[in-house]
């Protein structure tokens, strides 16, 4: 797995957020992908040259609070999350920061939904 630089991570999160992605992939050439398959193809299937960026959780946990987003943005991120751990990271970050009721409720509901679908 490629060691991702801070610069690449920041850029990946920025692009991923704009594209509404929860995950992005980056190759050693600094090219970003929304699809792991295309990322691997871009480096001749050498997976050592590709790294994954967790857009939602990385964005939230870096600052330890949800100051990065308005309520609507954070709820959109919750809805887009596909894993309980990602949602939990958002909830934890929210509890560290503003503790907004609507965000916490949306997070709890999403975790319920994700658990139910397992």
């Amino acid at each position: 797995m490629l060691k991702i630089t801070t610069e690449q991570k920041t850029k990946g999160i920025e692009i991923g957020r704009k594209l509404g992605q929860s995950k992005m992939w980056v190759n050693y050439k600094g090219e970003y992908f929304t699809n792991e398959n295309f990322a691997n193809i871009s480096v001749g299937n050498d997976k050592e040259k590709v790294g994954m960026i967790e857009v939602t959780s990385e964005a939230i946990t870096e600052k330890k609070t949800n100051e990065l987003g308005k309520v609507e943005d954070v709820i959109v991120a919750i809805e887009a999350a596909a894993e309980v751990e990602v949602v939990q990271a958002i909830i934890d970050a929210e509890n560290e920061g503003k503790k907004r009721k609507s965000v916490l409720e949306a997070g709890a509901k999403k975790i319920e939904t994700l658990n139910a679908s397992k």
């Binding site: 509404g20 090219e31 970003y32 992908f33 699809n35 887009a80």
Partner: protein
């Protein structure tokens, strides 16, 4: 009795339904010219000299490291002088996404723009970031342009958008599939967006580092303007891009500034993925656009309805809408006699005839194959006051490929 002997009076001319009332649009990053072309202002051109009068000429492009006159001159090279091209320069810091708001002003100038090209001329310090093999701002621009086209449609100005797919990546097998776009992790159909990622390689080779990655959207727009709206911009008989006298398109290429011959092996793949670029045909001299792709999958439902999966189907839908709107508008607010609250058969036939006449005219001109109008006799014209009519249009077909079988015979 007049002493004039012969009196000739000009007859009245009705609404233009020939399709020739179309106008075209071009918006792109540029720099204001003192006393001439200004940013965020719409200008109407009829020939390249109109652009020159605004201070936009070949030297303007070179000085400002943009492709604006290039697109205008290419538009008129393919379309011929006299076509209306409405242009707007915006600050070079704009991306396709931010250009869409400004493009609304351009479109509202006449409401007649059927196709608009978005030229992406970034500022000198711009750093290209690739996402799924596309420039990140171009990739973000695809859904934004579809939303812009939807806005135009809901304001009765349906149009198609052509986006400059500048700077595609070198690994063409890893390019995003425009026929299966994913936005926000969900499928997204941008049937009103065509992504052009081809260029006149020789021309681009003389440009700056940024310029080398441009795509010839003006040429593509010119091809569209040169032909009836139901035709394919890649039509072999009429749309040869090469002009040896002008040294135009002597060598075709992609917006990663790779020549046709360098990327030949990947062209079938990116054609299938919905990209637009120049190609050659063995046995003929010149380059042609590969097709009229849009950023949408090909869909046909169980009822035989199909989506606008090619630019000429997008045009057919738009122009049919515009023509039907014109012929039905005079019926609005008129009284209608009902029988037991329903539309009598004669009235239903009257409304059907209005639409069918418009379809017959378009079919007679060869713009569509057929069309059908079906008025709902149960339309509530008393309380809701809405006349419900269902239209069906059968577009003209297109020969994209000829497959034959050939044998040597002894007799």
């Amino acid at each position: 009795m007049s002493l004039r002997g012969t009196t000739l009076t000009e007859g009245k001319i009705g609404n233009n339904v020939s399709g020739e009332s179309r106008e075209f649009g071009l918006i792109g990053g540029g720099v204001a010219v003192v006393g001439k072309a200004q940013l965020d202002v719409a200008y109407k051109l009829l020939r390249p000299s109109d652009a020159v009068a605004l201070g936009i000429d070949a030297a303007y492009d070179t000085t400002n490291d943009v492709q604006i006159y290039r697109h205008i001159s290419e538009f008129y090279r393919m379309a011929g002088e006299g076509k209306t091209l409405r242009i707007m320069l915006v600050a070079k810091t704009n991306t396709p996404v931010t250009m869409t708001d400004k493009a609304k002003v351009l479109v509202l100038e006449s409401g007649a723009i059927s196709d608009i090209a978005f030229a992406f001329n970034p500022a000198t310090a711009y750093v290209e970031t690739l996402v799924d093999g596309l420039n990140a701002d171009v990739k973000l621009g695809i859904p934004a342009l579809q939303i812009f086209a939807d806005w135009c449609d809901t304001h009765d100005m349906p149009l198609h958008t052509i986006l400059e797919g500048r700077g595609i990546g070198d690994t063409l097998t890893a390019l995003a599939d425009l026929r299966a776009l994913i936005v926000g992790e969900a499928a997204f159909s941008a049937h009103k967006v065509t992504l052009v990622c081809g260029q006149d390689w020789t021309y681009a080779d003389g440009l700056s580092t940024l310029g080398k990655k441009f795509a010839d959207v003006g040429t593509y727009l010119g091809c569209i303007a040169s032909q009836a709206w139901n035709r394919n911009p890649g039509e072999v008989e009429t749309q040869n891009l090469t002009n040896a006298n002008l040294s135009s398109f002597l060598t075709g290429g992609l917006s990663n500034h790779k020549k046709y011959s360098e990327v030949y092996d990947s062209l079938e793949t990116i054609n299938t993925k919905g990209y637009v670029f120049p190609i050659k045909y063995t046995g003929r001299s010149g380059y042609w656009w590969n097709d009229g792709h849009v950023c949408a999958p090909i869909v046909m439902d169980a009822s035989g309805n199909m989506n606008q999966h090619m630019i000429y189907y997008s045009h057919t839908m738009d122009m049919a809408k515009r023509a039907l709107r014109i012929v039905y508008l005079p019926e609005v607010k008129k009284p209608v006699e009902l029988e037991a609250g329903k539309l009598p058969g004669g009235i239903v036939g009257y409304y059907n005839a209005i639409g069918n006449d418009a379809f017959r005219y378009m079919a007679g001109k060869g713009f569509i194959s057929d069309g059908d109008t079906s008025t709902d006799a149960n339309s509530d014209l008393l309380i809701e006051k809405v006349l419900n009519i269902q239209f069906g249009v059968v577009p003209t077909g297109c020969v994209n490929e000829i497959k034959g079988t050939i044998n040597l015979k002894s007799k």
